[in-house]
Each structure stands twice: as C-alpha cells, then as structure tokens.
C-alpha cells in the first residue's frame, strides 16, 4: 500500500484510544453494521485457543474470521430463523484505558493493547469473561480501520457455553 505519511503522521494516541473505545460502544449498542464497517477489507477478528498463540491457521482458535465470515455472523444475528437469538443477546464491555503499543506512521501500522471485562447476557443468564484485546489498525482514506482484532481470554482453555456476540 502507498502510504501518504503526511496523513499518517497526524494520527495521535488519542485517536487510537478513541477508536478502540468507540468500537466497544458500537458492539454494546448492537450497531453491528457500523461495527463491521470498521474492518479493513482484509481485516480479521481472531480469538486464539492457546496461550501466546502465534499462528491462526495451523493452531486451533475459537474464532478466526475475515469480513465475509463476520458478515455472515452479523446477518445471522438479525435472521428471522435464528432461534438461538430468540430472545436476543446483549453485551457490555468494560475497558481499561487502551495502551498504545506501536505508532509507525511510515508503515501505517498502529497497535493498541486493552485489558477488558465483558458481559454477555441472554434471557435470565449473564456470563462474564475477562481478557486482552489487541488492535492492529491502519489509516485508509483518512479513517482508521481494523486490520486485526485479537481477543485473548484469560481462561481460553476453559469449557464455555454459547458465546454468540463479539468481545
């Protein structure tokens, strides 16, 4: 990609922090189409299944999904015959202040690290999760886009019930 560094050098740490917190808010408000639009065309959402996992392809993951698959999930959540969403699930993110791990304007690579607690509820049930979200972002046409959102759960190796939404 040709990087217009006059643009990328204007990205501030606050821009990155605002992006991460807004992304969580979109999920909490169930604005899934707006949330999907935050992903780059080649963006992925990844939930590893192993400690400090390095490979999403030849190591098992809970999720490793491109935009096509994320679109399937989002459309499914609204489907008339999506019985596991009758009643619908909702979620809430509690984020620690995101830390900026990398600001490489020349390469157009921006990385953040955000410890979080997450609650997902459906009907009378509510389940709590804790973990770390790592965002790899890129500036495209003046907007930050998600190249990779990696979500590591602290208890990745536990047996879970349904996790239907996005952390």
């Amino acid at each position: 990609m040709i990087v217009d560094s006059t643009e990328t050098t204007r990205v501030t740490e606050k821009d990155l922090i605002d992006f991460v917190t807004r992304e969580a808010r979109l999920l909490d408000e169930l604005r899934y189409d707006d949330w999907l639009a935050l992903f780059a065309e080649d963006g992925y959402y990844w939930m590893p299944l192993e400690w400090q996992q390095s490979d999403p392809r030849l190591q098992p993951s809970l999720m490793y999904e491109d935009r096509l698959l994320l679109t399937v999930r989002v459309e499914r959540l609204a489907g008339a015959r999506t019985f596991s969403q009758k009643p619908k699930s909702r979620c809430q993110h509690l984020l620690q202040l995101p830390q900026v791990d990398e600001m490489d304007a020349a390469a157009n690579v921006f990385k953040t690290y955000t410890p979080f607690h997450y609650a997902e509820t459906r009907g009378d049930e509510i389940t709590f999760y804790a973990g770390w979200a790592r965002h790899t972002l890129r500036l495209e046409g003046g907007k930050l886009k998600i190249v990779l959102k990696r979500v590591d759960l602290v208890n990745f190796d536990a047996a879970f019930g349904n996790i239907q939404l996005f952390m």
Binding site: E50, P60, L68, L69, T82, F83, A158, F160, G161, I163
Partner: protein, 454 residues
C-alpha cells in the same frame, strides 16, 4: 438410587422400538445408573496414543463419572488406571496431560507408583508392619480399569472387570477409525492442538443422537449455513475462488433428498454411521499434492478406495463421534442428566499437506466451538428439548422415522440416510448395557494380585 436401579422391568419399559420415555434424558436416577452400568459395561474412548508418546507421559480424563488416567510405561505399554491414590483417595494427576518421569508420586503423603500403576514405595514403611497393609487394596497401587485396548493408537477402556470383549463390542465399526488413519500417507495420525471445549446444558444422549440426525441441518442451520450461502451468493460477484469456509458451510443446506441418498449403516452394540454412499464431505476441493502422496504410498487403486469413503459421522457407542474425511473426534462427556461437556479434537494426517490440517481446524471451529454459529443453532435445540421434556401429559420421545415393524436389532444393516434407525440402534444397546451384569462398583478386582514393593 431410585426405582430404576431395583426394578429392571421399569428400566426396560423406558425403551420401545419406536419411542423412548423422557426419563432417559431428564431423570437423575437414570443418569446415575448410566454411570454405574452403561459406562462401566461398554468400551469407552480414553484418548489417543499420540498424546502420550514417551515413557512417563500421561493424560487424564473421565469414563462416565470415574476419574482415570492413561499412562505410558517404560516398556511402551499403555495403562489405564483410576486416578486415585489407594491411600487417601487423592487424585494423582491433576493436569490434562504431562510427564511424570519414572514414577507417579502422590502429592499428599508421597506414596509412589510405577508408571504401570504398581506400588513403588511408601515413606516410613515400618509403621505399616503387622497392620495387614500388604494384604489390602491399598498395597496394590493405582487400580487398573477392568480392561484396556489400543486400536491403531485409539485407547479404549472398559471399567467392568468382566464383560464384552473389544472386538465383539466394536466389530466392523472399526473400519471408520481405520479409514481415518489410512488417509495419512504414512498410516499415522497425531492428535494436534488443544480441544474445543463446549459446555451443554442438556443430556449427553441428545448430542449423540444428533450426530446421525439428517433431518435437522436444513432447518436448524438455516440461520448459519443458510446465511453463509446467501452472503456468498452476493459476494462472489466480486470474483475469486470459492473460499474453503463456504465449501465447509454450504453442504449443510443440502436437500432432504441428498441426505436420504447419503445412506446410513448400523452395527451391533449401538454403533453406526451416516454417509454410506456419499456425504456432505465428498465435494471439497482437492488439496494440491495430497492424492499423489496417497498413490505413492498405497498404489492408485487402494488410494482411490480410501479417499472414496466419505463417511459423514460415525458414532461409537456410547459417547464419541469421528469424522474420517475431516479428521475430528468429539467426546460427549456426561456430567449430569442435564449437563454435558463436549470436547472436540483434531488430528493431523502424518505426511499430508498442511492445508488438510488447516481444513480440519477450520471445520472444528466452525461447527464445534462455543463460538460456532452452527453450534449455537444446535445447542438451542438441545436446551429447548431438555426444558420441553418436562411438559406433562406427553412423556415419550419419537424415534420412529422409517421404522418398519419387526426391524432387526443389534445387526449390521443399511437404511435410508434420513432414517432414525441409528437412534433406535443406540437405545437398543443402551438397554442391553444398562442391564448387563458387571457393575464396576460391586465387582471383585479380577486383575492379578500384585506384590507391593518391599
């Protein structure tokens, strides 16, 4: 223990050829009997030998509600032992797998045991002189299960000291495991990667039955597989090859006719499989180089025969399912009448291209993960059934699809792919092994007495 333990007729009355009473799914007493009888009298999957390749390696699991471990001894043999110190009952191994070195050492009082379970040493042994310890169970070391058998690296155990033999129990059904192993150009599988662990608030048998239920995919999975198909129909205009993901999802939306044509085979003792003639796994894109490797290893005729088998789901009664063409194994672990832990494992075909393992992992997380949209569809149905079964006035669950009066039981036979015959086959076996003698808790230990180390 309630009425079913003491009343064989009441137990028998739960299963009719074409329907079963709801108590088999919701009654805690029936569940307890399953633990004491069914899971003691049958051969239950323990693990894969590739998980414990070296001396001192062990894995832990449960057979029904019984904690066990499988240990690799110094001579290479595999021993399945109760995971309980004979002294005070402390679990000897606490991790899913590991290496214990030359011996197991109880962390409570340091009684130690060889990796075949035999007692090695007890600290301050003089204190036991003249106490009768040498004649007691406690001196025999870690108690072995009733019987252990390893078939092509798949470890099975029977808790009951007496009962049906391994070959008699599985018979021809082992051809499904064989086909999965033969798909490796080196004839070897390695269990690789952590299992997906998914807690289900339903009875374990609902999951087992669903493995050969071919009338639900196009209905229950319309939301997941159906949406995948419709999104792809729109997106493919942009060009590019059909992604592996769409190849895996789309066949779930196949027609009733397709699933009927897949065919179904039952075997004695509750085993059976869908996908006799073809299956939803038959039409995946070829993985470059793989067929050539198989021809090199087996010759063209045999390679085509191995890869021409497209068995869909093979149920090994009571509680596992394997997918040969995908190289996955699911274990349905009963925890309570309304609680089941599903662990889904992946195998690498030794010597085959990485892309096959990539597909195995992708399939597993698409279908078997707690984050899987297909899994969400299924669990919703199981949960609703677990709750709905409590509705009074209608106490029977129907399993009569394509039933013919006088249908042979406990035989090898073929049926239409949408038949519920495998469910009937499972319940016939269920009753057989729920009534069979050999309750592991009451049987005498018939294993040879072993001398405690002096």
């Amino acid at each position: 223990m309630g009425k079913y333990a003491s009343d064989p007729q009441a137990l028998k009355a739960l299963v009719k050829p074409e329907c079963v009473h709801r108590d088999v799914y919701i009654d805690p007493d029936v569940f307890q009997l399953e633990m004491k009888r069914l899971f003691a009298n049958t051969w239950v999957y323990v693990g894969h030998a590739s998980q414990i390749p070296n001396p001192g390696d062990y894995l832990t699991t449960d057979i029904g509600d019984q904690p066990v471990l499988a240990s690799r001894h110094g001579d290479g043999s595999i021993h399945v032992l109760y995971n309980r110190c004979p002294h005070k009952g402390t679990k000897i191994a606490s991790e899913p797998c590991g290496n214990t070195g030359k011996f197991f050492r109880c962390p409570y009082h340091a009684w130690s045991f060889k990796t075949d379970g035999k007692l090695l040493a007890i600290p301050m042994k003089k204190g036991y002189e003249g106490t009768g310890l040498k004649q007691s169970d406690a001196s025999r070391g870690l108690k072995p299960v009733g019987a252990t058998h390893v078939h092509r690296d798949f470890i099975f155990a029977r808790l009951a000291p007496e009962g049906i033999g391994f070959e008699d129990f599985f018979g021809e059904s082992l051809t499904s495991i064989d086909n999965m192993v033969d798909r490796s150009p080196e004839g070897k599988l390695v269990l690789e990667g952590a299992p997906l662990r998914y807690m289900h608030t339903c009875n374990w048998k609902m999951l087992v039955e669903n493995q050969t239920d071919t009338c639900h995919p196009m209905v229950a999975h319309e939301s997941s597989a159906g949406t995948a198909v419709s999104v792809w129909e729109r997106e493919k205009e942009k060009g590019g090859p059909k992604p592996m993901a769409v190849e895996l999802y789309a066949p779930f939306m196949s027609s009733y006719d397709f699933f009927e044509g897949m065919g179904l085979r039952v075997w004695p003792n509750g085993h059976g499989h869908t996908g006799v003639n073809t299956s939803i796994h038959a039409d995946y894109s070829a993985v470059p180089g793989y067929f050539e490797q198989m021809v090199e290893a087996y010759g063209e005729e045999r390679a085509k025969k191995i890869l021409g088998e497209n068995r869909h789901n093979t149920v090994y009664f009571p509680n596992i399912m394997i997918k040969g063409p995908i190289q996955t194994l699911r274990v349905f672990k009963p925890i309570a009448a309304d609680r089941t832990l599903v662990e889904s494992y992946t195998f690498r075909l030794v010597g085959a291209p990485d892309m096959l393992f990539e597909r195995t992992l992708m399939y597993n997380r698409f279908i078997n993960a707690p984050t899987s949209i297909v899994g969400h569809d299924d669990l919703e149905m199981y949960e609703r059934a677990q709750q709905g079964l409590h509705a009074d006035g209608q106490e029977w669950v129907d399993i009569r699809r394509l039933y013919e009066p006088g249908e042979a039981e406990d035989v090898t036979d073929l049926a239409g792919g949408t038949s519920e015959r495998q469910m009937r086959n499972q319940f016939h076996a269920w009753l057989k092994f729920m009534n069979a003698p050999g309750d592991a808790t009451s049987g005498e230990d018939s294993a040879q007495d072993r001398e405690a180390a002096e």
